[in-house]
Symmetry: C2
Subunit: 192 residues, 2 copies
DNA sequence: TGTACTACCTAACGTTCGTTAGGCAAAGGA
DNA sequence: TCCTTTGCCTAACGAACGTTAGGTAGTACA
């Protein structure tokens, strides 16, 4: 606890990087230990086991998304604006946690049954929140689409892939990316 | 060779399912053998090693995408129509190979350096082909967007996520999904 | 009927895995 | 100055890993 960040936080950070780069199953505790600069056995002084690392990463990000959802649900406004705000919040979570986002999206299935079920429930709740916005837009007469599920899942996948190409040192700020994406999703490619 | 499908094809099929469900690294040769109904050692009569399975799955699908690309590039038509056709072809490849698509999208990084480099090159070529279409649309004055990269990568991610939710036994045909998605990507959610 | 081949088996190899036990040296409070 | 705690170490555990060697039935063809 005497360092700038605790050893535990440091281990989780390095684990996040490795799980992203190599995948959870292909990352050994010895890999992780080496990257941190200690022996594998020493890691167990700071964390319970390997899965606790994955669980911590996945649920930290799930909580971040749920916080964004909770805050959005306090506001009432027209669906197009609501959706734009929701996209902004989502993009902000991802761009602030690029490695963790990749782990969150791809490695959650390695959780054991109990946390897995909880994780899936959280994700479902988040999907439903986006579905509600899109549904509201249709009722307001502002949105049109044929299939709700396709609309939301395509939206989500477009948002979620950001971690794959977003470079924090690049020219686009998170806000610009959010702006760009919501424009794309609301108006499509076609020039008016 | 006396069966309906050769043992090799069967093994690759089962491997595709398992790699999708559990991930490449978390799928053992003994898992695979059990699912096929033989002993782990026996698999090596039919395939060189574990990575050859992954390689085969990834490149078979890469080839399918490249075939679609090649066929598209023979045609000349306005960009909006071109994009719609490209989306249709892409959706067709994915819906015809749901498990393989998931493996293709998530497990390619476990390839060893040489096939990995080839794989990445193929994917890059495919991305460029979509970029050209979108670029052409802008030059024709038919498309508008701020950032080419974001447009194409969001497009691709929307298309690629299909394997996650598409159910062959569901109510939507591959053609309907393609239609639905190209409409979404061209026109957005906003009602005109 | 004899022979080559196919398709699988058992057994085992060396390696790596996640994890635990037990110890030791430095630091900090009494 | 003694004692407890902290933070890491070495050593080792049993299990699982990918893969190879060698054998043995059953089949197909001469």
């Amino acid at each position: 606890m005497s360092e700038i960040v605790s050893r535990k936080v440091q281990i989780e950070g390095v684990a996040t990087e490795l799980f992203r780069k190599k995948g959870y199953a292909a990352t050994s505790m010895r890999d992780l230990a080496q990257a941190v600069g200690m022996e594998a056995a020493s890691i167990y002084s700071h964390i319970k086991n390997k899965e606790a690392l994955l669980s911590s990463i996945c649920f930290r990000l799930a909580d971040a998304f749920m916080d964004a959802k909770k805050e959005m649900e306090l506001q009432t406004m027209p669906a197009p604006l609501l959706l734009q705000k929701a996209i902004e919040a989502h993009v902000r979570v991802i761009t602030n946690n690029l490695d963790a986002s990749a782990v969150f999206l791809h490695e959650w299935r390695h959780l054991s049954p109990e946390p897995l079920a909880e994780f899936i429930a959280l994700r479902k709740a988040y999907e439903n929140y986006l579905i509600r916005i899109i549904h509201q837009g249709k009722e307001e007469g502002k949105f049109q689409f044929e299939d709700e599920k396709i609309a939301v899942l395509s939206l989500l996948s477009g948002l979620n892939w950001i971690y794959d190409w977003y470079k924090p040192e690049g020219k686009l700020s998170p806000e610009q990316v959010a702006q760009n994406l919501s424009n794309l999703l609301l108006n499509g490619l076609t020039k008016k």
